[in-house]
Structures are given as structure tokens and as C-alpha cells.
């Protein structure tokens, strides 16, 4: 079928057969009167656009990005009662049943533990069954389409001081989510960690300010003592993948500095799991294992006026070679020096030496 002929057919369909619009559009959720012709036809779409909510074919140049094979081939009768493009009549089945006749794989996808309501009820909530200016017959680009309903995510993304490039590149939301159905909650294609390392596995990635981002995969491959959320593949325990007010897409405050006066609010992220009192109680025999007898050594390190050590002074947040996520060394100066911490663990405590202070040993049970 030549392009001009197709364009003419489409034009005639749109102008002469408004009931077709009504019937295809009526497949939207909640449209009980799907089979009944609409009293008022939708407005004529603008160039390259369908009217809002309309499932009408796109009319004009440039050529649509995606086109449905039966429509492209002029086989209206695959979905409609009549083969005549001028009078295709109503669709022969309502809802996803029509689509699943050919898209057989969706029967399996819809059996997954987590499915998307629009995918269960109306494919045309997101897809134009004729053609589209987005890939996969989507009625809009994925980010705009998804945030049309998921408005909180939309606001988070559009207003974030620290945006996540994943939402603006490639398949956008579908980089991480399967919009039909998934074995993982939140329609994630995989657990968060498995998704994140699909991209965060190179040495060349940088943030918006040009600061180099860690090659997480390489780091974890060589550091097997993983922080709980990392071990649970739950990056989103600490990072907000849709955009954040905090550096590195963190979900809450976390000090960037090595030294900082103690203020619990700076550690909001850590204290969203760990107990603040484990760091603000001077004497304890239960709240931490980093203690010399009952002297809380976390308290001692953090609660120093002006030069309190922040978590990063001693701990690696993702993974380390040593227990308790103790880091191998600390950066010194701007030349990239790393001074070794010389932490040693013992059966009842541990010791640190030579870097920040002379050797000091702690024993839990004195």
C-alpha cells in the first residue's frame, strides 16, 4: 500500500467514520459504553498528534516512529468487524483480550506476581493500536506517559537538585521498570542492585558536576564485606533513583566531609536504620560492639567538638575487605594519598594504629 493511498484512507476514516474513533477510544478504562457510537466526535488532531485520549491513527509527516503491523498492512479486520478501511466498524473484542490474540507472551507476563493495572485492563491506556510518534506504539514518550499518572515521581524528577540520567536516556522509565508485569515489586525488571550495576560498571561515569562516580561493580567484586542493603541488593534503601535533593541521589542527609561537629540531623540517612542513641550514648554494653568495656567508641569518635569524625572517616559505605565495613585507608591531602588505617579485629574487639593516633586496642568485655 503506497503512502499517499494510506494517508487518503486514514483521512477518510477519520473524517467519515467518527464512530470508529469513539469505539477505539472507548477501550479506555471505565468506558462502559465501548460499543456505542460517541455522540460527539473527537477534535481533529494536530500535525503528528492524536487528540488527547484518542487512539486515532496519526495523519501527517513526519512518518510515525512506530506502526502496528496489521494497520500498516491495511488489515483492519484483524481487530475490527470490517476489512474496509473506510468503514472498519467496531473492534471485535474489548480490552486486552483483543491484543493477547497475537501478543501471546502477555498471558504469561500477566501471571507474574506484580502486574500493572493498565496492562491488565486496557492496553490502549498507553498504546495507540494504529501508530505512534513514540517507539512501541506508546501514546507519549515513556517518562511523560508514566508521570501522567505517577505525578509524584514526575515532580520528584523535574524538581530534583540531583537528577538521575537514567530517567532521561534510553527507554527512560522502562530502563528499570517492566510496565506490564514483573516478579519484583514496583514492577522492577530486576532487584535494584542488579539494575544499577547494569550502568554503574564503568570507570568513566561522572555526575552532573563532572565528579567521577565509583565503578560499583568493580568495587564490589574486590570487596566482599558488603553493607546490609548492598548485600540485600537494595540500593534504593539509601538512593532515590528518581531524583534527589541530596548528593549522590541519597534519600536523606549524609555528611560529605571527613570531619564535622556532631549533629544527628547530618546523619539522617544512617539513622533511618541505625539507632541514633548508639552514637550519642557515652556508656553502653548493648548498643554497639565498638566499645572498650562500656565506653562507646563511636560516641568518642563522633562527639568531638569541631573535629568529630563522620562515618566515612572509618567506614566504606558499600563494601570493604575488612569486617564492619572498615576502610583500608583514609585519603590525605589532594595528591591522592591513602593512609592505611591498620585496623585489626580480634575475637573480643579490635585495634587501630598509626594513622590517626597511636595504637589503641578495645575489648568489649572487661
Amino acid at each position: 500500500m503506497g503512502f499517499q493511498y494510506k494517508a487518503l484512507v486514514i483521512f477518510l476514516v477519520l473524517v467519515l467514520a467518527p464512530p470508529l474513533w469513539a469505539q477505539t477510544s472507548a477501550a479506555k478504562p471505565g468506558a462502559a459504553a465501548a460499543a456505542a457510537p460517541a455522540k460527539k466526535p473527537a477534535a481533529t488532531p494536530g500535525p503528528g498528534k492524536a487528540a488527547p485520549g484518542s487512539l486515532a491513527p496519526l495523519l501527517t509527516k513526519p512518518a510515525p516512529v512506530s506502526s502496528h503491523a496489521p494497520f500498516e498492512a491495511g488489515d483492519c479486520k484483524i481487530c475490527h468487524q470490517n476489512a474496509d478501511p473506510k468503514q472498519p466498524g467496531p473492534v471485535t473484542k474489548q480490552g486486552p483480550a483483543m491484543c493477547l490474540d497475537c501478543h501471546e507472551e502477555f498471558a504469561g507476563i500477566m501471571k507474574r506476581p506484580h502486574t500493572h493495572v493498565p496492562a491488565r485492563t486496557s492496553c490502549t491506556s498507553c498504546h495507540n493500536p494504529h501508530n505512534s510518534n513514540s517507539r512501541k506504539l506508546l501514546v507519549q514518550e515513556p517518562l511523560a506517559l508514566c508521570t501522567g499518572c505517577h505525578d509524584k515521581i514526575g515532580k520528584l524528577n523535574s524538581s530534583a537538585a540531583v537528577p538521575h540520567k537514567a530517567l532521561a536516556t534510553g527507554a527512560q522509565c522502562s530502563n528499570c521498570h517492566n510496565p506490564h508485569g514483573s516478579t519484583v515489586e514496583k514492577l522492577l525488571v530486576q532487584l535494584p542492585f542488579d539494575l544499577c550495576v547494569n550502568c554503574h560498571n564503568v570507570d568513566t561515569m561522572a555526575d552532573a558536576k563532572g565528579k567521577k562516580l565509583q565503578n560499583i561493580k568493580a568495587w564490589l567484586d574486590k570487596n566482599k564485606e558488603q553493607h546490609g542493603p548492598v548485600a540485600a541488593k537494595d540500593c534504593s534503601a539509601c538512593h532515590e533513583p528518581h531524583g534527589s535533593e541530596h548528593f549522590r541521589l541519597l534519600t536523606a542527609d549524609y555528611p560529605q566531609e571527613f570531619y564535622a561537629a556532631y549533629d544527628a540531623r547530618n546523619y539522617e540517612l544512617c539513622f533511618s536504620c541505625h539507632q541514633e542513641k548508639a552514637f550519642s550514648t557515652a556508656q553502653t554494653s548493648t548498643l554497639t560492639s565498638f566499645r572498650n568495656g562500656a565506653t562507646n567508641l563511636h560516641y568518642l569518635h563522633l562527639q568531638q567538638s569541631g573535629r568529630g569524625r563522620t562515618c566515612r572517616a572509618c567506614h566504606e559505605v558499600h563494601a570493604s575487605q575488612q569486617k564492619h565495613h572498615i576502610r583500608e585507608g583514609v585519603p590525605y591531602g589532594s595528591g591522592g594519598w591513602m593512609l592505611k588505617l591498620f585496623y585489626k579485629k580480634s575475637a573480643t574487639g579490635g585495634s587501630c594504629e598509626k594513622t590517626c593516633h597511636s595504637e589503641k586496642t578495645y575489648v568489649n568485655n572487661k
Binding site: 503491523a69 501471546e104 537494595d234 568485655n365
Partner: protein, 275 residues
Amino acid sequence: MFSMLLRLCFLMAFAAVATGFHPASAAHAALGTLVGNAEMATLAGGKDQALKKVEANVLVFFRPNQERSLGALRELAQCQSGFTGKSVHWVAIVSNSAPTESIAALLRDTGFNAPVLLDRDDALYGSLGLALHPVVVIVGSDQKLVAFEPFRSVDFCTVVAARIRHLLREISDEELNQALTPAKSIQGGSDQVAKRYRAFAEALFKDKNYDKALENVRKSLDKAPLLAPAHALLGEILAAQGNCAEAIPAFNQALTLDAANTPAKEGLERCKPVK
């Protein structure tokens, strides 16, 4: 006499944990460690023990005024319903220093249904080497630690339920692994496009649009040459066009790939020369 012996056993077990296990040695107690069953005050008044004589003791350590505890208890409230009537004992454990009103309010808000024990000076929490909230600690009927599951933002209930069901021997090791590391939820497999062309061809075939049906079933076979139903459909289309000579090899190919393919068997019958 028996109850005295039982108490003595519990006391010995607790003493073993309290004196023999020092949390410095690990981020949390090692799996398999015996858990002491100390008596604790309850939120409702009175006293109770954390562990009962059941297949699975599920100890939920939480703290009030913490968003993650709120989220965890809400999810666990949903999770609990799957274990009604089973040998599972749920118990919520909170520091005795937490404000009582906040604890009660949290439980009310979340719908989590379990007795609440007040852990005096975080003794049990400390003895297990815990360092965060919320965390689910699962203990078997032998009072040994089976699993720690800190709250996770994705699949928390799925993972906790799988851990309990595994302990109850309702699911296998493999099924537990599937819950812990779910398979990638790809769209539909490598041959999905081929299947679509086949289905499209079938619709055209039913509509007696044989030429287009042939075109599309061939597209399907180009993409997935081992798709038995597509070979069978190719045979059906060719046979409908009166071309049994080419239809027979197509039916045979379908049966080579899938000996139970009914349309191919029936197609071959129809193409048999009339005696």
C-alpha cells in the same frame, strides 16, 4: 520437676548466649547460634517469653517514630495473613526505653498483630549483635537462629514469607533462592516477535487471506525456524491453497519439532491422496 528442668535448660541456654557470645565478633550473631529465651515485660502488662514451641518464631525488632519501622510493620501485617493457623509465632520487640504511647500508636496504624515485648536495656537486641531497625529475626523450633532480614525497600514481605515458608518446609531451597534472587522480568523471550507474526498469520488465515497469511508465517519462521506451530500453520495455509506437495514437508517439519502437534497431524491426514 519437668518444668523446673525446662526452666533450667532455658536459663542455661540464655547464660550460654549472654556469656559465650560477644557481639564484637560479628555484625550480628552467626546463623545457628542458640537464642536465649529470657522473660520480658509485655506492652499489655505482665510478662512473656520471646520464643514459643513452634516451628517458626518470627521476632520483629522495631522502634517507634521511625519511617522504616512503620513501612516494615505495614508490610508484615499483610505478610502475616498467609500464615494464619500455621506453626508460626510472631512477636514484636522494642526497647523498653521507647515511649509506650508511640509503640501502641504504631501497632494500631500498621495493623501488625503480635504481642509486644519490651526489651530491657536492649539486652536481646544487643545479644544478637543487631545494629539497626527494623529487622526480622527468624528462630527455629530448636531455638537456633535461622535468618536475619533487615527491612528492604523492595520485596520485603516476599523475602520474609519465603524464609518462614522454607523453615516450615513448604518451599524448597531452590524456591527460596528464587524469592531471594528473582529472575529478570524480561518482556517475553527471544521468539516473541516470531510468535506475533504467527498469530497474525493465523488471524489472516482464518479470514481466508492466504497470501498475506503466507507472507507473515514466513516472517515468523525467518525469526524462529524451530517454531513448530508456525511450520504447522505454513502447512495449513499451503494446503488451503491446494498446494499439498509443499504443505506435507511443512507438516512433517512441525511434527519433527513437536510430535504432538495436532494441526500438523490433521493436515497430513487431509493431504493424503484419496484411495
